[in-house]
């Protein structure tokens, strides 16, 4: 555990999860729910919010307990803490909307096995004070939700011709069914990554020789 640490909370603490270290697009963590539940925008949003809550709650608790958890059993402790909050989310969603619960299926309980949450617990919450962890976890969770929405929106528009359940193209639209099937998840995420990589390369090229652009 680092003794001297920077306790100042900057904009960067919050925003690194949103974009620069986006858990999905940059670090490729927590892929299973990303691909599995994003066949519609509403499922993606619900999953994002559920994950955000677990990330926030477990991050806060782990950060509060960070000095009293023995190092040898820390992973087991984190997992049990995370599993507790996931159980809460599981029963809450079941109480709020049974339709949503059935649509998300086992993937709510599988939030436990989302490596992003354990990764953040180990890499961030266990080393930083509670307030900073909360800010960072919020950023990460929002970044995760954003990424899920990016996928969910594209897949729902292409695969079902609708957005949040609202029909977009009228009855003559022939849905591209493969996009809501598993294969579509891989392909859409691959396409997003290609797009970001292309943007990144274009940006670094213009930085290297700015004269070429003008």
């Amino acid at each position: 555990m680092a003794k001297k640490q920077d306790n100042t909370i900057t904009w960067d603490t919050f925003s690194e999860g949103l974009w620069r270290e986006n858990p999905v697009f940059v670090m490729l963590l927590g892929m299973c729910p990303v691909l599995a539940v994003t066949n519609s925008a509403i499922n993606a949003l619900a999953m994002g919010i559920a994950t955000l809550f677990v990330l926030l709650a477990s991050g806060t608790l782990i950060s509060l307990l960070r000095n009293s958890i023995p190092k040898q059993v820390r992973i087991a402790t984190y997992i049990v803490i995370i599993a507790t909050f996931v159980t809460i989310v599981d029963y809450t969603i079941q109480a709020i909307s049974l339709d949503l619960y059935n649509a998300l299926g086992a993937f709510i309980q599988l939030i436990v096995a989302n490596c992003m949450i354990l990764g953040r617990a180990e890499a961030y919450s266990s080393r930083n004070p509670p307030l900073k962890s909360i800010v960072n976890a919020t950023g990460m969770g929002l970044g995760f939700t954003l990424a899920l929405l990016c996928l969910g929106v594209v897949r729902e528009i292409l695969g079902a011709g609708s957005l949040f359940g609202i029909d977009l193209f009228g009855p003559r639209f022939e849905p591209w069914v493969v996009m809501v099937l598993p294969a579509g998840g891989f392909l859409v995420l691959g396409a997003w990554l290609l797009l970001f990589e292309w943007l990144k390369q274009r940006k670094s090229e213009t930085e290297l020789n700015p004269a070429a652009e003008s």
Binding site: I75, I79, T87, L110, A113, F186, Q201
Partner: protein, 193 residues
């Protein structure tokens, strides 16, 4: 109690509902360790082993939980069992094959957070499989995982030798490959239910 035959359960888990390519479980190791066949095979075998162990444990634990009517503890109990099973595999590998242990690196402890394993434990509970059915289901899921990760590793080794546009270097091309594999596995969809 589910009435499906054992061969149906096995084939269903390997092909029609392949854990990786149809159910999106266990994607982290699938994308992370599939760079080379040499590391993909031991990873697959380790996962298979953990799956078998945790399937048996999960079945027994579920009996206990149901008997005491404390099913809400299921998730916590399962994940604790899986974490211990992974610890066991890790210690065994470290003792008998340190080189392999190092090459698998961080992905070995991450089997704990491999959702394929927790998913397996949960699905067999939801489907109310008997003990033997659970075991066959775990075997099928493990074999399916090995199949998927091997196919992927083979494809990626071939890709190393070919010229690709610079933007596809990284995870994007792996995901595209995954998509194509998943498309081809859709052909098995008629087999299962």
């Amino acid at each position: 109690m589910a009435t499906e035959t054992l061969s149906f359960i096995f084939l269903n888990a390997v092909l029609a509902n392949n854990f990786v390519l149809a159910l999106f479980l266990g994607l982290c190791p699938f994308l992370g360790v599939s760079g080379k066949i040499n590391t993909a095979v031991p990873m697959g075998l380790a996962t298979l082993f953990v799956m078998l162990v945790s399937s048996v444990c999960a079945f027994l634990i579920n009996e206990v939980l149901v008997a005491f009517e404390i099913e809400f503890l299921r998730l916590i109990a399962y994940i604790a069992v899986i974490a211990s099973a992974v610890q066991l595999v890790e210690m065994t590998l470290k003792k008998f094959s340190p080189a392999l242990f190092r090459s698998l690196g961080i992905f070995l402890p991450l089997i704990t957070t491999n959702c394929a394993i927790l998913g397996l434990a949960l699905f067999q509970t939801f489907k109310e499989y008997s003990f033997l059915q659970s075991l066959v289901y775990a075997l099928g899921a493990g074999v399916g995982f090995i199949l998927a990760i091997l196919l992927m590793a083979g494809l990626r080794e071939k890709l190393e030798l070919s010229t690709m546009p610079s933007i596809t270097q990284g995870a994007a091309v792996s995901l595209m490959l995954g998509g194509l594999l998943s498309l081809s596995f859709m052909g098995f969809a008629g087999l299962g239910g």
